[in-house]
Symmetry: C3
Subunit: 318 residues, 3 copies
């Protein structure tokens, strides 16, 4: 929706663009899309590199899979056509940029429209493609970029930048927050450092509150998701692909690194940092200023850095 | 000043709106205001729930006090009329929203005025009710909302949002800072999550410097106060009801949680976090990246998390 | 370039303005500039106070040096004329403000020009003195102040403020970032608290990426430098005089205190804090949420607070 799919492309054309793939001739086929192994469908091309995702490899209906030679044993080659690559992720990135060539940057173009003049009076710029529901309010000097979807009773503050986002009903986004920009991810392909494409978006569900000067980056190959009823204080950073479960509360200055999943009904104390690619269960309580570096099961209660039990944290403290 | 008091209201009308109060008929009386037990005056209604405030309960001149049955023994019922509630704070919130129905949100309305045209040339919007002294400067794309009071020689940077604030002479607020928005506080009343009303403001005294992208939330039932000569570096978060004493220095990325009081002449190192509801004395030195979780007496010198002596912090460190 | 040098001034006039200098009559000489001992040239005045800079004192070609009586033994008085001061830094500050009287503040004046009208359509204000290369893009509601130099293929997001900066080719600065403002430094001279003058600038070299809501303060007596290929995530704070080496990656919410030098090819994890005046070598890896309080040699790998080896950090952690 936010990035135009330039495909389909013939598989042989795709392969010709890769850098680390053993070149061979495939049967002509129009590949429809790129997608992660978790979400890949018939007609798509995906990649497999991390054993953590082995269960998805076994279930996927993808048509093509970039894969290292040594991992071929895991692939059902009757169902899926392997594309042997020394660096499946890097070749996937190259291919993703074929399909979504604008997804590795932020775009500032806004098309004006008379229907949104009332926002221009406040120096706020809302692209003519933005659709919003009843009772939409926006402050001063804010920007809402193309194709953003906004539900009923949504309030966006001043000096905000909203892009690549789907925002449900009853959401408040406070002043200075930036939602939907590209995340922090780079890869070296040959000698060049390039941005990882970010063709995902940010989904913000009902009744979410986001404080001031927060940043929520859009997903790279997936979406960043903020669940229903989540409340986020000021200056919080939510990296690409993070999923925050319903009704979780996040205090000020928290940082959540890329691809971590936070459960429902969690309480995360101020200035806490959560490493990337973690699974935090439901009803977890994390004390302020903690550093969480491993998965946490449901109902965990941790504090400190590395985060462990409250008792351990306070053992030498009077 | 910032929120219109819709009262007075008859005490029986007030009681009829509560959720956790034992209903009974009181003598007709026009209640003038809601206030905390520390500041409550004759004619007001307040609440008592936390034993920490017992000394204020004994001194208050309030007319009515929401109180749990078990706490009635602490109340001088000759002087103050008790209103027995299972949840005094929640009923107080309901009542506060009767008096200040707009205090649980941020409002973006600005009335323009010819007299402030010169700011509009810079895309800055200053409400016509704002009063300011000599030598007021404001940058680009900033907003100053209704009833804000600004002294002499005040300088506000670009992309700032200032609301619900009383700013004294010789104050500098740098680019991107947001002063006076609602704080982070929610309560569940029946099944609904609501914002705690914030009818307090932010008071910034003489000679204060505030860096860039800082946030100072307004008080809920009290004010947030930044003392004379306080210097605050970039990206600092000061939560609702915090009081910072005169001439205290706060380095970058510090977070101070709600209702803590910091003394005079303190030095707070960068990235430090201070928990809520603490009392930090005068002349306290807090090393960078500390986590302060208990009160600190005058002249304390602490570091680490939990913050303790420098000696303890460095004991295993060469 | 960013601050007009009001000199030269006769040495006797300069001395007459100092506060802590023993007054005596010097031979008439027009002092051209103020500079740090590391960069001082013939015709300049500098100061010496910190033994760390003794090697520079022995090499400098400065004409005058503010120095404590007890340090005179280190000075080659045949070459350099000493100016004995009880507080060399404070007197240097007074003198620096003679040469650069506007360097202790941020200035919001922007002169408009027809040639930059296209930016004004986006509510962005670019001073007519700004020079930029090919393919310059700027978002909405941003400000670029006087004399900023911008190379080819530079992209500045929305709600940014850029001042006192020299930006090379292929640089991206994301939304809400503030580059080149005055740093956090105050000194008391007699009874008055004053800003340390900041007549340095920010140099951003080729291929740098800066995330959203970041702040990079300009140098005080030197420049703040961001090396080639450096990538900086969101909400990072880089204080005055910091030098970041080429190709170093800095994750979100990191804070680097004043005058620290970071080497090349370092990886700095999210929420890390680095104290001021440190030397961090090349190829250093710093784990997330670390607090670095001493110098680190090349190829160090540290984590925790105080940052030490990974083994030490995890020794009691399962």
């Amino acid at each position: 929706m936010f990035f135009l799919n330039k495909g389909p492309f013939d598989i042989n054309f795709i392969i010709s663009k890769t850098q680390y793939t053993k070149k061979k001739k495939y049967k002509k086929f129009n590949v429809k899309n790129v997608s992660t192994i978790e979400h890949s469908k018939k007609g798509d091309i995906t990649f497999f590199e991390n054993k953590k995702y082995l269960n998805y490899l076994q279930k996927t209906n993808t048509s093509y899979c970039l894969i290292r030679k040594k991992d071929l044993v895991y692939l059902n080659q009757k169902k899926i056509i392997p594309i042997v690559s020394d660096k499946p992720l890097l070749d996937f990135i190259i291919i993703a940029l074929l399909f979504y060539p604008e997804s590795n940057q932020d775009n500032d173009d806004i098309r004006f429209s008379n229907k949104y003049n009332k926002f221009i009076d406040k120096n706020s710029f809302v692209d003519e493609s933005v659709c919003f529901g009843k009772n939409f309010e926006i402050g001063y000097n804010s920007i809402v970029k193309k194709n953003v979807q906004i539900g009923d009773n949504v309030k966006i503050g001043s000096n905000c930048t909203i892009s690549n986002s789907i925002i449900s009903n009853n959401v408040i986004i406070s002043d200075g927050s930036i939602i939907g920009k590209i995340g922090f991810g780079f890869k070296q392909i040959n000698k060049e450092i390039i941005f990882i494409p970010h063709f995902g978006c940010v989904k913000i569900k009902e009744n979410v509150y986001i404080g001031a000067n927060c940043i929520i980056d859009r997903g790279s190959f997936l979406n960043t998701v903020i669940g229903k009823g989540v409340k986020i204080d000021n200056q919080v950073h939510v990296a690409h692909n993070v999923v925050v479960g319903d009704n979780t509360y996040i205090a000020a200055q928290v940082g959540i690194a890329g691809s971590s999943k936070i459960g429902k009904n969690c309480l995360i104390g101020g200035q806490t940092g959560i490493s990337g690619h973690l699974l935090i269960g439901d009803n977890v309580k994390i004390g302020g200023k903690s550093g969480v570096i491993k998965n946490l099961t449901n109902n965990s209660k941790v504090i400190g850095y590395p985060a462990s039990s409250f008792k351990e944290f306070l053992k030498n403290y009077d």
